[in-house]
Subunit: 242 residues, 6 copies
């Protein structure tokens, strides 16, 4: 049973990371996983929220959102509905936790960075593309602070790990890497893996959408996810080297 | 390094499942994991939401909440704040997905069941206690429908699996089962495992709170979680047999 | 015409006041008027709201809420609806006023106490049970402050009165004490009486639900209400003596 | 101790009821109790809310609000705050209940009437002035329906009672009728009495603001309130006769 | 084609400006343009919002609202809907900008003035009547500050211009001044003109409701609007002279 | 006094209109006015809102929004704040009115089209760029309906006019076309002109931000705006011809 776009089961979609896509933010990356397209911006402000003042620690947080027509049919705006939905909040929290895992908040010093991940076009994997792109935007924002000598620690020590994420799932009984929308909808098991550049786990979330899953299936998905994250870490390194 | 309450690393806290704690709901269970105490009720209504009418399928959904002083310090009510927070929504969605995994919505027929999990007292593991208790409340509500001949399928086929959940984590470098609040706060890695009575996974969520984690640590936590869920499935069976 | 549960017109339902039902709050009481069951907790915080700082006066406020399935049919959560309803606010304000009538805010000193009354099971009289239980929880919270020498005045002077409340009503033309849900729905006139332990009135609220009422009926209801409050004050004294 | 405006203890402020103050509503009355000035409008719509359709019964509801600068200092608008406060809801509910007590909803037929009471200027007694004025506006709206032969019963049977309301209170130890703002603030006990034109009670709400009160004080206040309502019923009759 | 109320195309409706309509506000004006009736109040508070402190500049802002039955059919309250609608916000912003154009915020000093424009009865032109009335209320509030020596500059320099507003439109192909509701609904082009007493423009907003419009039509409407504003400035002067 | 980017006073910034920027919407255009970059999508749904059913008329509406970091400093999301701000609503309404002026809703038939204008990067003129881009997206959506034979009238008759918009203003005393952000902030008078391809006005909005303006200045701005709109209409024609 071939994949809808002809990929191998362990093959990522084409990944692009376009730095400085916007002129205003301290870091801005347009990340594309195939047709999924997310604008990740990192906004720096001096100081930290009131409850953190004087701690010597910085603060990193994230907000995820989708344009109303990023998807095949239009969704109502959350601003118009007057409340942020459960799915949006869950993904925003996941992105924030994942990025905080790769930054030393003490070395960052009392600076705040907000990562905005706005999905311009969706074709599956928007949360994992967001994490992968936000890492690069965050790296640029830390570089911006370094240039201004505004970090508490040595620049190299601030971003002590890289972090990337990918979705994996079981479709038609087959473990597959980086599901697109069609596969995501058809998946029996769906998992998001967040890994560092050295293959350690930051977060693992697996759900039996239409079925339960055994330990062997879980193991296969974890293998595939780590593989994908390593490849993404490589793409991040290349983008940052340009 | 002993656990704060003297348990073995692979030992659950005392678990009690008190059925029919309330007089009004079709199913109601007071579940206790040590000092964590959650009231789980199952409310049946005939019919399904408009978008599901005529599908022949039932609907199960869940809502989680904490009393303001379930915790060591008082939290503001979400009704007063005017919005349901991200954590609450995330947990409500997890409970709903987990319980839907153990029920055949076709055999349920066009009936709706809302599972309310209200934390009366919190000491870690409130979401996993909620899932474990809600399973028993849901079972009673299905029994109530069976007595009234209101199910579409055979009663036995409606609840085709049992489901239970437990938290596991790495504290002081040691994998431990069923963390209480003190351990939860201190955990380097924190994981929630939702399993069926036959040790299949329904949901796996692991987070490196203060650290990342390797595959071996992940494996140890999965082993521990499955073990705990098997024991909880046993407690559920006993409660339902009374 | 006998009462649904066989009581005399001037007979209360069985009343229980279980202190220290929860481990975290400074005061916590599970109050039961028959099948009506309310968890009343008192949460102490040092200091007072900004607008009261430097006044030397403390602050006592209350919040009432019902679990969604405390009633015979499920109600939507106010947190989900995004607003606190009129009935809830009205009762919260009544409880707050009633409890402030029995405490000397100057002797309390600049401490704040929030009384949370969460109805776990409803069978009529939830607001009067809340007031009666909250008094005991407040008394325990003041005791907690006394132990820590955190009161501005002498402990005995802080709670200078006791306060209790009961519903009365005219059902089938007969004045009755402490209506349960069935009677409450059928009542022609419905009244809530809040009294001190020495039979003084704190608050009187009477409504001709399905009818108007004459002065003689009003007088009979007031007599009955005072009688009930005296009996409840006795139960409070016994609970506090344990 | 004289009253601030020189009145006798049992003397109302000058009362005016100006009918047809606005051109659009089916009933509209500007009611003045001294400097308190409330615009009461009655808006008729054919039909009733969905949950009442086919019952043969009409529906009457009320909404109370204050202009931001009706008071001595400006209050924020509830529309801007995004929620209707507890006090506003409590008063809206009281007005609605009071007016429903004087109308036969069966004779009204399946028509809906909304009573809007907007306080243009406040000097104490805004809720009692609202009830008193809304009765006249409601009467005019029922007359409007009668002219169009849109009532289910005979016009005379629709408004089978008149209803009026007044505040009473104990100030400087003296029971007084119709408190203005200065007296309201200084009152030890504060009570709102809603009566029919034949001196029956519709609603009684008494609160010991700064003190508790004995049965004799309560009796004195009830006497005074009935007296005031009789006088207001007379003013209503005269206004309707014009 | 005569106008519904028999006016000439360039004729205003009768305009009245009643100062001191309310007792509490520092400035209060009931403005009437024919049957359109708006209560404009100006509320002074010492100091400015936090973001403006220490700037030496004052602050003037405006809020517009309509009573629910100001119109021919009743509208729901924005407080009940929980949000301020687009039209309301747009008009509030227009009133605020227009009034800030006629006041020297430096000469005002660090004082804040809120202009509340509440439409008691609507018959077209409510926003232009609001601006015209609010100018007079603002003038009175500045006078109140002058009496208390609370202005930073000379009283005369604070209100360095007068401002008034009027609607114009093309109805049945004819340019007309000060449209009432019937004309407003029928207008092909609708324009609001805000002018100073010396015929300078403050704001111009023209919309082709049912059609587009040419430069010659625009010119005719501008001429008519300036004419109307000059007449209104005269009415303002007379009102302030009383 | 040269313009910040060296343009002539009557010179537009480089304009690009990229059709089919997104894969999902029926019409999607990335419009750029210099560094201002807006994604305009047109979403078609069969049918119209309930209040319009059976009218034979279609419906076109618009929603405008800015990404949080489209600007030089980050703004909070309106979804997080829980309400859509006044400026956003005002612009959404303007875009909707402008686009409805160029479409024959009868020829459109009972179809609904939502125009979403999301500002990805802001440098002045975001509302006028939105209108200009949304016209092209709307044209493509109508073409999409034409291909499916889903229009009520002849395709050519549906879009009977073109519409474009541009900002003009007086900066340093000089009337200028198409202000960028720096000029917008410095402008004494600021005006938005919406015109058809045949130089008729659809909407004119002029504001004296820091000053009032005379009729001669208004005339100069109108001349400049018409000129700009003619040029933009040409760019739209070219984009649609590709």
């Amino acid at each position: 049973m071939a994949r809808p776009d002809g990929r191998q089961p362990d093959e990522l979609r084409p990944v692009t990371l376009t730095r400085q896509w916007s002129v205003h933010p301290e870091g801005s990356v347009l990340v594309e996983f195939g047709q999924t397209r997310v604008l990740c911006t990192a906004s720096v402000t001096e100081g930290v929220p009131r409850w953190r003042k004087g701690s010597g620690l910085g603060w990193v947080t994230a907000e995820y959102s989708m344009l109303p027509r990023a998807t095949t049919t239009r969704s109502d705006r959350e601003s118009v509905k007057g409340r942020v939905g459960g799915r949006t909040q869950e993904i925003s929290r996941l992105i924030g936790r994942s990025l905080r895992a790769c930054i030393d908040l003490k070395a960052l010093g009392e600076n705040s960075i907000v990562l905005d991940c706005d999905v311009l076009q969706a074709d599956g994997g928007t949360r994992t593309a967001s994490i992968t792109g936000a890492y690069v935007a965050l790296h640029d924002a830390v570089g911006w602070l370094a240039e201004r000598k505004a970090l508490a620690g040595k620049p190299a020590s601030v971003m002590h790990r890289s972090v990337a994420a990918v979705s994996v799932g079981i479709v038609d009984g087959e473990p597959r890497l980086d599901l697109n929308y069609l596969e995501d909808v058809a998946a029996e098991v769906d998992m998001n893996i967040v890994c560092t550049g050295t293959s350690d786990f930051v977060e693992v979330q697996g759900t039996g959408e239409a079925n339960v899953f055994g330990r062997d299936q879980l193991d296969a998905l974890l293998d595939l996810g780590v593989l994908g994250c390593v490849e993404l870490a490589d793409a991040q390194r290349k983008a940052l080297a340009e």
